[in-house]
């Protein structure tokens, strides 16, 4: 029997890339895309391939690198989350005009929900904006096939192709049968053609014309690609209602119609929705009196149909305009439309009673929190203590959860902690208001998007404290290495880039490194930093709060275990619960005071520095 494995959707994509001879894969981690590159590396190692892989410093950097590989004739892929494509948008728009040589697939993973993102944006619209084709898989198996299809299409039409798996593809698991993987990629060669690869605006007009012609041809191809675009209309038959769907919603609709044996409702699948397969869509329009479009997360297919009277969807108010289209939601949408059209409905979902019961039980809300023993918590505690009146700008990463400790006021985008700090500074100083500002940003995020904003802030004489929360890893997305470590994606050694030197290189003169586990040290450093910020000859003060991530470095993170207990001195004031917010500390209803959850306490002992009454004490292990 062939080898079969249960793969994450991201693993299936990795397999599809390698099966198609992809020679270069670049990425910046971000949920739900983060596992694609590690899965590529796992397979490269097990199959003895020579694929080049890298964690790039950000998505634009990743896409530039993959694009260069493509125009040397190699097949290349670049993986990111959907908001990462915003960072890489500059490259995408231009690359669409210039075209490719070797196949280039941009894998941009969407997050309807959103489960772990700033927005629910729809990558398919980025494809439309850039004028590049987009493929929208419904299952891990299909994502694997589409990875290869994308590379082949890209090479045939010399255009970058976007693969848009949504989170329910990326983080679905499915059993996948392996095919043999052979390495047969071409050797790098670059044919100089400045009118294309260094095109000035005059030639860009020509390239735009070429791009439009390519799209027309690809649109025709998408009409004859029955593995991804198809319907199940019976010849000559007409229907009161048909459903058009792509991506994850297609899988849900298909399962519901199968389970309920509703073969009276035909289905149009658009796995390659742009450029729009017009004639296929027209066949469906002709055969159905009404078409319900179910797509995530926006209205691409609905717009492209262009038939407002016949087509129902978000624009007609039949599909919710935000949130994930989970099966029960889709079930409800189909039923509402069936009833409106006086067609036989699906059996009613009877979850109303259960939902009411769950409401009535008033279950505790489980908000995500920093881990017990996390160095960020200690840093936030010290920051809040030293600068209670500051505006706290922060950034994207685990440390966004500093908002639970009242030490995060803003979180906009990657690098936004620094740029918003300078923006706040100038807005207040314009009115002679002395407003303290403390920015917090993680080490990986600083390398991703921090430096440009920091150079700008130094140059324009903004004044604030910048705390780089350095946990020596990219924690939130699953412990990818950062440039400061020097360890590369595949575990090989690169050259470490010093965080201190990078900060100094941005023009910052006050740089101090502290271990936030010593909250007193950290507070004292913050006070000195604040003095420096206010001095006429001062500037931006940078504190690097360095403590290894408790998950990535379980042993090193807590060099000296301290068992703690709570004494009867506890007055139940909740100071530790509010300001330190360690999940191992909880209010014990029976004792009527704070207590410690031994099961999750990491014995870091930082809370010994927290209680104003001295009721948290160290005890014999």
């Amino acid at each position: 029997m062939n080898r079969e494995e249960i793969l994450l959707g991201n693993g299936a994509i990795a397999l599809g890339l390698l099966e198609a001879g992809c020679q270069v894969v670049t990425s910046y981690p971000g949920t739900p895309s983060s596992e694609i590159l590690p899965e590529v590396i796992r397979l490269v190692k097990s199959e003895g391939l020579h694929t080049y892989v890298e964690w790039s410093t950000n998505e634009k950097v990743a896409l530039d690198n993959a694009f260069a590989a493509s125009i040397t004739g190699k097949r290349a892929a670049c993986c990111m989350k959907q908001v990462g494509l915003n960072v890489a948008a500059d490259t995408l728009m231009s690359a669409a005009y210039q075209g490719t040589v070797g196949g280039l697939v941009i894998i941009s993973c969407d997050d309807p929900g959103p489960h772990s993102s700033q927005t629910e944006q729809d990558t398919r619209f980025m494809a439309r904006l850039a004028k590049v084709p987009v493929l929208d898989p419904s299952t891990p198996q299909e994502a694997r096939e589409m990875a290869g299809l994308a590379l082949a299409l890209s090479e045939e039409f010399r255009i970058p192709v976007i693969l848009r798996p949504a989170i329910r593809v990326c983080h679905a698991r499915q059993n996948i049968a392996f095919n043999p993987i052979e390495e047969n990629g071409p050797k790098a060669s670059f044919e100089k053609d400045p009118q294309r690869w260094a095109a000035t605006p005059k030639f860009r007009l020509t390239l735009h014309g070429e791009l439009n012609k390519k799209l027309e041809k690809i649109g025709k191809r998408f009409e004859e690609l029955p593995q991804v675009n198809f319907h199940n209309l019976e010849e000559g038959k007409s229907y009161p209602l048909g459903i058009a769907a792509g991506g994850v919603p297609f899988a849900v609709v298909r399962d519901i119609l199968m389970e309920e044996k509703r073969d009276d409702i035909p289905l149009l699948k658009l796995g390659a929705p742009y450029p729009f397969p017009r004639s296929l869509a027209d066949e469906f329009l002709k055969a159905c009196d009404r078409i319900l479009v179910i797509e995530e997360t926006d209205t691409l297919i609905e717009y492209l149909f262009g038939e407002r009277k016949k087509v129902l969807g978000r624009l007609s108010g039949h599909v919710p305009a935000e949130g994930e289209l989970v099966p029960q939601v889709i079930h409800g949408i189909i039923n509402r439309v069936l009833m409106e059209l006086t067609l036989p409905p699906l059996p009613e979902d009877e979850d109303g009673e259960a939902l009411a019961l769950v409401q009535q039980l008033e279950l505790p809300v489980r908000r995500p929190t920093l881990c017990p023993g996390c160095g960020h918590r200690a840093a936030f505690f010290a920051i809040r203590k030293a600068q209670p009146k500051a505006i706290f700008t922060s950034d994207i990463g685990c440390y966004t959860l500093g908002l639970n400790l009242g030490a995060v006021d803003t979180c906009l985008d990657m690098g936004g902690a620094i740029t918003m700090a300078s923006g706040f500074y100038h807005s207040f100083s314009q009115d002679d208001i002395d407003q303290p500002i403390v920015a917090t940003i993680g080490d990986s995020t600083f390398f991703h998007s921090g430096t440009a904003g920091l150079i700008n802030a130094v140059y324009n004489d903004a004044r604030f404290i910048l705390v780089i929360l350095d946990n020596l890893t990219t924690a939130m997305t699953g412990m990818q290495p950062t440039p400061a470590l020097g360890t590369r994606a595949d575990g090989s050694q690169g050259k470490a880039v010093s965080l201190e030197r990078a900060v100094a290189g941005c023009g910052v003169d006050f740089i101090e490194v502290v271990d936030p586990y010593g909250t007193k040290d950290m507070s004292d450093t913050l006070k000195r930093a604040f003095e420096y910020v206010k001095e006429p000859q001062g500037g931006i003060a940078c504190i690097i709060a360095r403590h290894p991530c408790i998950i990535a470095y379980r042993e090193e993170a807590i060099p000296e275990k301290k068992k703690v207990a709570i004494t009867d001195d506890c007055t139940d004031c909740n100071f530790c619960l509010d300001r330190f917010e360690c999940p191992a500390l909880y209010h014990d209803e029976e004792l009527e005071r704070t207590n410690i959850n031994r099961q999750i306490c990491s014995d870091c002992g930082v809370c010994l520095q927290v209680c104003p009454k001295g009721a948290i004490v160290e005890v014999e292990a």
């Binding site: 739900p32 994850v248 899988a251 979850d351």
Partner: protein, 189 residues
């Protein structure tokens, strides 16, 4: 065969994904097709975690409300939170003390929907065996005693033996067996 829908829930860090992996791997070895859906990213930092596992000829990875056949809850409140997923006649296995589940308010609902439930103090059991982080295996062993299918306890045990890292293997099996034992006692009553 109609799809078999299994839900596993609890809190981030309780080992839901490992428990799902054992079930899925065992089902695959038996020749089932499977689809599963997992929680990653921000929610893993101590939030509610839910894992969907569907065995059979399905394309979508999410269990619809009202259609789960089996619910394994590593934390009782997360068990309550996911009640809307249960199908009529579903089986529920909960990490809780016997007299701590279900609350009065939930009893009528469970009865009306013919949901059978069984409790095991999986956390206490795992802690007594010196493996406080293995309540997931205690619950899985307990579940396997009831032969609710589609995989047997011997098959699950073989998977645990296969996929556990060497340094955890003995402990994992010990906790799984202890859970199984509890389940058998409970069934015997």
């Amino acid at each position: 065969m109609d799809a078999r829908n299994i839900l596993l829930c609890g809190l981030g860090g309780q080992g839901i994904l490992f428990m799902t992996k054992i079930l899925a791997q065992t089902a695959l070895a038996k020749g089932f097709n499977m689809m599963g859906a997992e929680t990653h990213g921000m929610a893993q930092r101590g939030g509610s975690v839910i894992s969907h596992l569907r065995l059979g000829e399905v394309e979508n990875s999410l269990v619809r409300t009202g259609s789960a056949h089996i619910l394994l809850a590593l934390e009782k409140n997360e068990g309550y939170r996911n009640l809307p997923f249960l199908s009529n006649g579903a089986k529920m296995f909960v990490n809780a003390e016997t007299d701590d589940f279900p609350v009065e308010a939930a009893k009528a609902f469970l009865k009306k929907n013919q949901v059978t439930y069984h409790t095991i103090p999986a956390s206490a059991l795992a802690e007594d065996l010196g493996a406080p982080l293995s309540s997931n295996l205690a619950l899985l062993g307990f579940f396997s005693a009831f032969d609710e299918g589609p995989v047997s306890h011997d098959e699950l045990r073989a998977t645990i033996e296969n996929i556990s890292p060497d340094r955890f293997k003995d402990n994992n099996l010990k906790v799984f067996d202890a859970g199984l034992q509890r389940g058998r006692q409970k069934r015997g009553k």
